[in-house]
């Protein structure tokens, strides 16, 4: 087992300011979503006075209907993270299925899988999600599930995998022609084992990057859907909060405490995930890290008076 895990260390991102900042931001938001709902007041308690500005008893004030914004934000963050994670993971699984199978096996399987992928790519994303969401939510017999955040997440996953599949296919195609894959075939390994043991581990950074991208897309997609009124109705997310704020004319009534917090959490989550993604990109493509680092070191060494000739190629 030890040798099977031997490679993992080289797949981990190098520690950097970007990665640290990103992880802290994402970590704080996740902690907030997990912990805050436990001690916050009931987000559906409408017995408070409406449109109270932030104060000691209501940290972020109340909405028009008297809901406590802080409680709503805590539960909404949890709801959005759930949609993001579920949507991101389902998109990633579909992308792996389509991208890696197409890339590795090639031939007619590649043609068929890529045809489907390309169709998914050219259909404009948000309208498709809207149509599917509207259709599914009106289907008889789904009951509670019809307007749940789980279903919204799955719809976002099913519509959001195509871009990642193209990226993974390209990489799998390139790895397929590597000599170590040919060597594994000559050694007698079978197709699926080659995919999962020889190729997939080397794709982990890329898949992680696509997953993070998928999570971001699902969080934003859910916010968009909810804002348009097509989101989950029986749960609270950052998107439903923004939708409430919009219908309640929060901007008009200058209730900034109502729409700024959910917007800020979405923006911070997106920024944090993007920063983590940069760090992963640097493993996928080491030049992103090495080139600026090298230039810095050369400058430093020259400044320290160790160089006899000015800078290098671009002096």
């Amino acid at each position: 087992m030890a040798d099977r895990l031997a490679g993992i260390r080289y797949l981990l991102p190098r520690w950097s300011g970007k990665l640290g900042t990103g992880l802290i931001m994402v970590g704080l938001i996740i902690a907030f979503g997990l912990v805050a709902p436990l001690f916050a007041a009931d987000p559906r308690d409408s017995s408070n006075k409406g449109l109270l500005p932030p104060s000691g008893s209501h940290l972020l004030g109340t909405t028009k209907l008297g809901y406590d914004v802080f409680s709503q934000l805590a539960t909404g963050t949890r709801g959005s993270l759930y949609v993001g994670l579920l949507g991101g993971i389902s998109a990633m699984l579909l992308a792996i299925l389509f991208g890696i199978l197409a890339g590795y096996f090639g031939g007619w399987l590649d043609e068929i899988l890529m045809l489907i992928t390309n169709i998914m790519l050219v259909i404009p994303g948000l309208p498709l999600v809207m149509v599917i969401a509207a259709y599914v939510q009106n289907t008889e017999g789904l009951g509670e599930f019809a307007r749940s955040s789980t279903l919204v997440a799955l719809i976002l996953g099913v519509t959001g995998w195509a871009g990642s599949a193209v990226v993974l296919r390209a990489q799998a195609r390139s790895l397929r022609t590597r000599e170590y894959v040919a060597a594994a075939r000559v050694a007698g390994e079978h197709g699926l084992r080659i995919i999962f043991v020889e190729i997939l581990p080397n794709l982990v950074p890329l898949i992680a990057a696509q997953l993070i991208f998928g999570v971001m897309a699902a969080v934003l997609g859910e916010a968009g859907l909810s804002y348009l009124g097509l989101g989950p109705t029986n749960s609270i997310t950052l998107g439903t909060m923004l939708n409430d704020a919009q219908t309640g004319q929060a901007v008009g009534s200058r209730a900034w405490w109502w729409f700024v917090p959910p917007g800020a959490v979405i923006a911070l989550l997106g920024t944090g995930l993007a920063l983590v993604n940069f760090a992963i990109d640097e493993i996928v493509n080491p030049k992103l890290r090495l080139a600026p680092q090298a230039a810095r070191r050369q400058r430093r060494a020259t400044k320290a008076g160790r160089g006899v000739a000015g800078g290098g190629a671009f002096a």
Partner: protein, 295 residues
């Protein structure tokens, strides 16, 4: 500038100064500023004489390429030249301190006085421009006073010089074979009549027959134009065949220098002997190379 009298004067000067130094590197050290720093080139001193082919041999990582880039001030980060001096002795008698050049002077020095051809050169042609445009660009940048007709004439001459049909001026890089593209790169390197050409494994990626053709062409051009060459390769037999002098590099130092004949017949360093013995003789004793090999 492009008139023949000057060309003749240059030729005359070349003949007169043949055998004199054209490039002197003294105590050049180059360090890669990584953690911990790597000393790639350590106090290398080398003199290149006018019109000679100087072979620089060594294995990967010995610093030969870093040294060549350093001489032409083409070091890429994080490489830093930490000591030493490179002087270029121009044919008109002035000395240029290459290490002190910067900006526009440096740009004019490269290509004009010292040009470079490297292993991947053939892949650095711009794929969306034809050969004519890329050759003309050299002149519009470095010889702005040349007319269009002169540029065209010179481009055709250059291609003919390196053994490529001037009709291929309209060709795009992908329409040329690897050997042809490398010849075009040599033509570009020759475009401004440099006095020194630095060639870093210029033929390693090519097939032996093509390689032979290019080497022969290079030797011809050297005789006609009188430039000096620093030829860098790991292929010691090839160097012995074509070089006037050879320097062997190892771990950033030049451990042995001599004429090709001395290096081949009378190497003083064990490493040189080891390098020589790494190349089996094509016609020597059968199986002498494989230790106790097949009968």
């Amino acid at each position: 500038m492009s008139g023949t009298p000057l060309r003749q004067a240059q030729d005359e000067a070349l003949r007169r100064t043949r055998g004199e130094a054209v490039l002197t590197a003294t105590n050049v050290s180059i360090t890669y500023a990584v953690e911990p720093p790597v000393d790639a080139v350590r106090e290398v001193s080398l003199t290149l004489h006018r019109g000679e082919i100087l072979g620089l041999a060594g294995e990967s990582g010995c610093g030969k390429t870093t040294f060549a880039y350093g001489v032409n001030r083409l070091l890429k980060a994080p490489a830093v030249m930490t000591s030493g001096q490179v002087i270029f002795h121009d044919v008109d008698g002035t000395d240029i301190d290459v290490t002190a050049l910067s900006g526009e002077q440096l740009r004019r020095f490269r290509w004009d006085k010292v040009s470079m051809v490297f292993q991947g050169s053939m892949n650095s042609l711009n794929p969306v421009m034809n050969v004519r445009k890329q050759l003309h660009d050299v002149f519009t940048t470095h010889r702005p006073q040349m007319s269009r007709g002169e540029r065209e004439q010179r481009s055709r001459d250059l291609l003919a010089l390196v053994g490529v049909d001037p009709g291929r001026l309209a060709a795009f890089p992908h329409e040329l074979s690897g050997g042809m593209r490398q010849r075009v790169m040599i033509a570009m390197a020759l475009a401004l009549d440099p006095q020194v050409m630095i060639m870093d494994e210029p033929t390693t990626a090519l097939d032996v027959l093509v390689q032979r053709g290019i080497i022969r062409e290079l030797m011809r051009l050297r005789e006609r134009l009188g430039f000096a060459v620093i030829f860098i390769t790991h292929d010691l037999p090839l160097l012995i065949e074509i070089s006037d002098r050879i320097a062997i590099m190892r771990d950033g130092r030049i451990i042995e220098q001599g004429t090709a004949d001395e290096i081949y017949h009378n190497p003083s360093q064990p490493y040189t002997k080891q390098l020589l013995s790494s190349f089996p003789s094509l016609t020597g004793a059968r199986g002498g190379f494989v230790r106790g090999g097949a009968q």
